[in-house]
Amino acid sequence: MLAPPRPGWSRRAQYGVFFSFIAALVGLAIGLVMLALSIAAPHAFRNVRGVGIDLMAPISGGLSQIAATVSGLVGGAGNYWDSANQNGALKRQRDAMARQLMLARTIQLENRELKAALQLRERTGDAIATGRLVSSSFQSPRRFAVLSVGRSDGVAVGMPVRSAEGLIGRVLDSGSQASRVLLVSDRANIVPARLLRTGQAVISQGRGDGSVDLKPLEVGRNPFRRGDIVVTSGTGGLYPPLVPLARVIRLADDGAVAVPVADPGSTSFALVQPAYEPQASAAAPAAQAAP
């Protein structure tokens, strides 16, 4: 019943088909064992997955350079179009920014004096490595990106990754030359955060489609408004505090839907930082397994 059809009266051909069928069943069994191991013990294949990233990242890197050059040529030509109007708009914007910058400098000074008064020590996370996002998991429901720096640059699993705009995610696998980043918009990536306007603690969880779900930690009135900015809170010690995370675009019945401030697609450079509290990176896989 289960065996494949007999290919005729040739004994040799019959054995060939039969053993091929047995080999397929063996392959299926091996696959199931490996898959179970991947699910139950994500560390098991860490080295193998690192090799896979190292194989692919140079190809992605080369291709993304070509794509960047081509889109740069097209975009560069587009910038000349209507440049006089753009120039005027940018000048107005610059003047407005200069006024805000002045205000921000005074606040910074005040902040520094207040912190000195409180004897707060800042753990500044200097960037360990700077790389480019060269590819992403465009065929999978999970949201990963491939970053062009790896173990040889000091990158280790669990380190937070950010761009100048905001948080991108954290390192999930690292090869020697490249690493895979779990993006903020992945379902398994849960980031403790704060509402910038009120300071209220919220939780961000990816939705797998480039946006995140925001939920307030305290039950009560929905604290979100459209356009609200959410920053990381540093709770849990994995992500550094006060990194811009997401902007609210839509309210939901018990929270809000937001888009990450740092769009991985338009990020030119990504910084890998040390885990905010070093012992947290050891606990990162456990946080990943939590639903």
């Binding site: 397929a24 091996i30 696959g31 898959l35 991947s38 692919m56 065929q139 999978s140 429901p141 990963f144």
Partner: protein, 174 residues
Amino acid sequence: MVRSALKSKRRIGEGPVAAAAYVPAASVVFASLLASLPIISNNGWFPDFAFLILIGWRLLRSDPFPAWWAAPLGFWNDLVTGTPIGFSVTVWTAALVALDLGDRRTLFHDYWVEWALAVLLVLTSEWAQLQVAAWMGAALPFFTLLPPVLISAASFPLFAFIIARLDHWRLGRQ
């Protein structure tokens, strides 16, 4: 009339290309490598190129590769695309074994049947991927697999066309 119809149209020097038996597997290996394209997408709606090529070959012919070749090919796919190691090994081998078993019961096979089978296999594969993601802590609602399945279903004819051209080329037919 009959004799001329039976006469081979092949000319001297034409015929299967070198290593024609390995062209199908090589095309699957290459399709896995397409995951390195520098596409940074906010959703995973692109079709699974290598899986479509694999089942496309198997639906076109019964003998492009033995079913057990799906295991090493799937391992390569897992390695380079970043799916959990063992996922493609399992799903691809299961798909080929299922098609081998199904071939015993199928009386005829036309293009619409192939397309329906391909959509069924892609749906199963995407569902399995969603289930594995849920076990790894990323539980997503079921309807999230509809866009990728629809896109894969719509693009299967393209893949089938490419495979048919490859098959003609490797066998040296005009």
